[in-house]
Amino acid sequence: MHHKLRHGLTVASFMAPATVGIVVFFVYPLLSAVYFSFTKFDLLTTPEWVGLRNYRHMFEDSFLGTATRNTLWFVAVMVPARMLGGLGSAMLLTTLKRGSGLYRTIFYLPALAPPVAATLAFVYLLKPGVGPVNTALGHLGVDAPLWFNSPGWSKPSLVLLCLWGVGDVMVLYLAALLDVPTAHLEAASLDGANAWQRFRHVTLPHISPVVVFTAVIGVITTLQYFTQAAVAASAASGQATTGAGISSTFGYPEGSTFTYPLWLYVVGFRYGALGYANALAVVLFVVAFAVSLLLLRRTINPERAS
């Protein structure tokens, strides 16, 4: 009994700070968000119960429609683009013997670039008129798009930016590909399997946990897509104000880069509709949680510690 108590105290001494953190910075705000989502208030008033009104309001909020469609567009395009880009570059690296370490470093480095810095670099690179990319396209006689300044091209421009930072995904695929037993691949070759068949029947089943992982993490990070969209819009619009007022350029041009989390931020911190912002947060939570369950089921195996 005494021993058990001692053990309990030891565990408590290790876990106490983290437990406080989980309760104060996660469980409490999460439960508050759910409660607040049924209320109406701003920074100066106290929450007043309004039932489901915030949730009903979502269906009349046409801007929310735009923001949701944009976020879904990003999820549908960026996630597969990054997965294919990461897998493709990883497969290329595994076939190169000489210099693959150097290639790997160069492919990986942009993934570390601070998002604000990377976004500014791309706004400069894709500047209509005098930007390097459009100058090059002009020499080739191509009618160059306006990139971040055109409602039709602003999202594809952000996709280019996310592909530039594909190195983080690539490293995951690289580790998984190096684990594929070469004996299996050789056996498949001897059986007359071509490159596609070897990939489809040997490589893919082996790397499928990483495929699922990158897909789920990709969806979840894209649901949060905020920084690049905010910074690209403000830099391209050329009328950025200070950090606090930066929201006036969110979505530029014509709302084409307005994402769901940007709208949540604007609703909460610019319009001060904190109840409604929490309702948007709860919906985001439900979606992200549903997606992460796909991964959670795999990750939490009943693995026992020593």
Partner: protein, 273 residues
Amino acid sequence: MNRQLIWIARHSLAIALCVMFVAPVGFLLLTSLMSDAQALTSSYWPQDWHFENYKDVFAKTPMARYLLNTVLYAGAATVFMLLSSVPAAYALARLRWRGQGTVLVVIVCMMMIPPQVTTVPLYLMWANWGLTGTLWPLVLPMLFGDAFSIFLLRQFLLTIPGEYLDAARVDGCGEWRTLLRVVLPMARPGIAAAALFQFFYAWNDYYGPLLYTSENEENWTLSLGLASFKTVHHVQWNLVSAATILTMVPVAALFFFAQRAFVQGVTLTGVKG
């Protein structure tokens, strides 16, 4: 013959990709060394080299303050995270206790939930405590464990052979002594990876500083300052480029120093997770 062609094709592709990965930073670097006027033209090789742009950035903007704030944020967040998360990771990986599985599930959930979900209640909490407008709301929680770091460290600690721990316990070490004397030295690569991730996360963070410090320019970080740069200076792309390069350099330098630990950390979270 055919084999050589394939070899050439593969390397050409790899080199072409390298050029594409390097080009954005390359153009930025060249632009950062141009005159103000040339930066607005379509000639990309500096006519004269304006190295003083890097001095001007510090002279004409609060760059030094942004840099200091960013170092404080990233440094404090990293140290605080290690103090709170290493013990928690040890308890989750190496001790047995009731509720362990549940806590682990909650921690994984915390990693997966977008930060925007809890933004409003957290902001109100910090506003109540009178700490909005400062970097404290971003740094203090790190004293109470960071979900991602706990998870990463736990994955690493699981790879340490149990015999070492058993030996320490047989020698009469308590769990804290076992952690400090035996586990910490062996876990150095994992700890380095977690520290690097935390440092980069804070260094790159835009959402957190925007949320809490945008009302008080004294406490802006590089990300926030960089994003609002041209308000002060009407689109001086040469200076913006210099500031952007300056933001990237510490990250790249740290990466080169600790490349191994870093790549190991990336694969540990992904493959084993």
